[in-house]
Symmetry: C2
Subunit: 409 residues, 2 copies
Amino acid sequence: MALVNDHFLKLPNNYLFADIAKKVNIFKAQNPRADIISLGIGDVTQPLCPAVIEALHRATDEMASAGTFHGYGPEQGYDFLRDAILKNDFLPRGIHLDRDEIFINDGAKSDTGNIQELIRWDNSIAVTDPIYPVYIDSNVMIGRAGIKGDDGRWSNVIYLPCTAENNFIPQLPAQRVDVIYLCYPNTPTGTALSRDELKRWVNYALKNDTLIFFDAAYEAYIQHPDVPHSIYEIKGARRCAIEFHSYSKTAGFTGIRCGYTVVPKEVTVATLYGERLPLNPLWNRRQSTKFNGTSYLSQRAAEATYSPEGRLQIRKTIDYYMLNARHMKETLRKIGLKVFGGDDGPYLWVQAPSGMTSWRFFEQMLYNTHVVCTPGVGFGPSGEGYVRLTAFGTHEQTDEALERIKNFY
Amino acid sequence: MALVNDHFLKLPNNYLFADIAKKVNIFKAQNPRADIISLGIGDVTQPLCPAVIEALHRATDEMASAGTFHGYGPEQGYDFLRDAILKNDFLPRGIHLDRDEIFINDGAKSDTGNIQELIRWDNSIAVTDPIYPVYIDSNVMIGRAGIKGDDGRWSNVIYLPCTAENNFIPQLPAQRVDVIYLCYPNTPTGTALSRDELKRWVNYALKNDTLIFFDAAYEAYIQHPDVPHSIYEIKGARRCAIEFHSYSKTAGFTGIRCGYTVVPKEVTVATLYGERLPLNPLWNRRQSTKFNGTSYLSQRAAEATYSPEGRLQIRKTIDYYMLNARHMKETLRKIGLKVFGGDDGPYLWVQAPSGMTSWRFFEQMLYNTHVVCTPGVGFGPSGEGYVRLTAFGTHEQTDEALERIKNFY
């Protein structure tokens, strides 16, 4: 008989968003006329910009005749997109990368989940807490995370708390670790790291021979010049960091599926015998074996975000969401709530008043204002006592939600 | 320091298609005026059909306005496509599946590579030989395949030879195995299994408590009524088999990326304590954690292949390729070559004359006829002495290639 990978069985059966949906659905059934506004799940609401739509139509037309049809593309992505990325996302920041250091994917979730395949199951990992659950769950599935304790912590994962007490700036780990996951601007807290703060992490990694998996999915939301858009803005990072990008939040591609991963050739890992090996060819081999490239249409769509019109159009949408964020932060602060994030990221991290738990605050908000948020504890133990609100709603929904919250609290 | 997953290092550095490209490029450099025809890589050449093109334009227009925009879809795929699959691919064959037994993906390569994550690293696996390299390589990466011997065989993989001697009908394994990969109609040989032959495999699996990973990517090419399109046409298969489908070859989606995996709820694996667990929720968890759904556009495109016009149009293209296959088989047989496959699959499996090796035959064909094939040994040890030709060329290319081969051999 085939034996199960029993690490899968360690994952709890209930999922955050399923639990939320259940509570919302019960409330809806009992209050069929309630006008529920969801500022919970981090999905975008604004349509694709005209430059992207045009590119998709054009690419579709190419697929309609044999002379311009595109079959299998390179597993690593098309050169037209890799070159556009180099030219637009990195060169203007003084970062020189080679084309074969860029790997196009179908969104950051796949690669942030798959990247851990390259390293041994017994490497130690650290995560900031709260955090995007994929980082931990993908390590649980291979046995690297250990066992989940009653305190909600996995035995082999080092948690670096981010709370109001440390102003959401995680402390460097007390011990050395092999791998650290960082996501900045952060989901779920919406906070960012300044250049000097990120420099501390790169220096720690270089000193301790640590690998950083850096998730930059929200970099397009950065407003302050002091916040780096890429970890490679920091000297030495190309020797210790892999970086993940996504068009999901940058250009509303949550339904289109496209992103990319940067694996600089200088990043190495060690064999048991101490030999150093570059990760780039290993990732290339992984992608060539288990991935067949991203849709040609999605890649042409991503390319269009770099055209002069495309850039203006996606900027306009980001400004739209960040106007929500500013409005939310001001309003919620005015009524006395403690609110974090939202300056350089599309999420607001709101502390529950008077020591309430995340879930209690979630329920209070749902039952009394009909606004859905995400309980912070779902993102990790240090998320307890907070909820996340997204700035991805429409202005109208957001304003209405704020009005109701203002009236209740 | 982070330690590498050293199973990756066991993979040979050279890849079949890279080696082919190298040899072809050298020849091109030395013979710049040679008109090379590639019947090597299994990519399609005919454009997407009008029904699919129309669906893509329509879906693109939906993405252009907020009211019809689609963000994150379900990781398991949209119901409109899952229902179309149930209604068109299974119900007409008397197969009743539930919607949540269908998982939409971005092509069969990802899922045939990822499915092995669900089982323990020490399960025994068997493959027919020659075979699609992803099955073995994905097991190598997790350590399940063992070590590669000088004979080209991995120490923990059981090889079931398919050669002219057994008419490409593999023998059941002598010992019991935990997992068997089957691909029918087969890549690379282009051969198929009759209903009675497939029944033997299902019965073996049920008797031995073996899990079958069944790759049905080429089922649309089946011509004979006696060849099953789905393993679930065989009684009992829903208790032991997972099935992979793809629109790549069915509808020319190699650049669009869409397929699906069937995980019936009755398929179980065991814990070390002998408890039986259904694989369906484990796969669901895997997909929810490491995958964010296939592009909405690709899913609408796949749905269009089931419309009345879509069905006729994709059938026409398949007939076009199968006309190539028939023509190739007849012509090559006429000149005395031993040719297999091509009746129910888009590949021809050609035995090298007078005991030549695969690579020698490849070179002879390249240098003398300027036709590129794929050396059979690249698909496994039992592929030695054969080459693969695809029927995916245009009529004109195929005819010209045959003319040249006829003149030389």
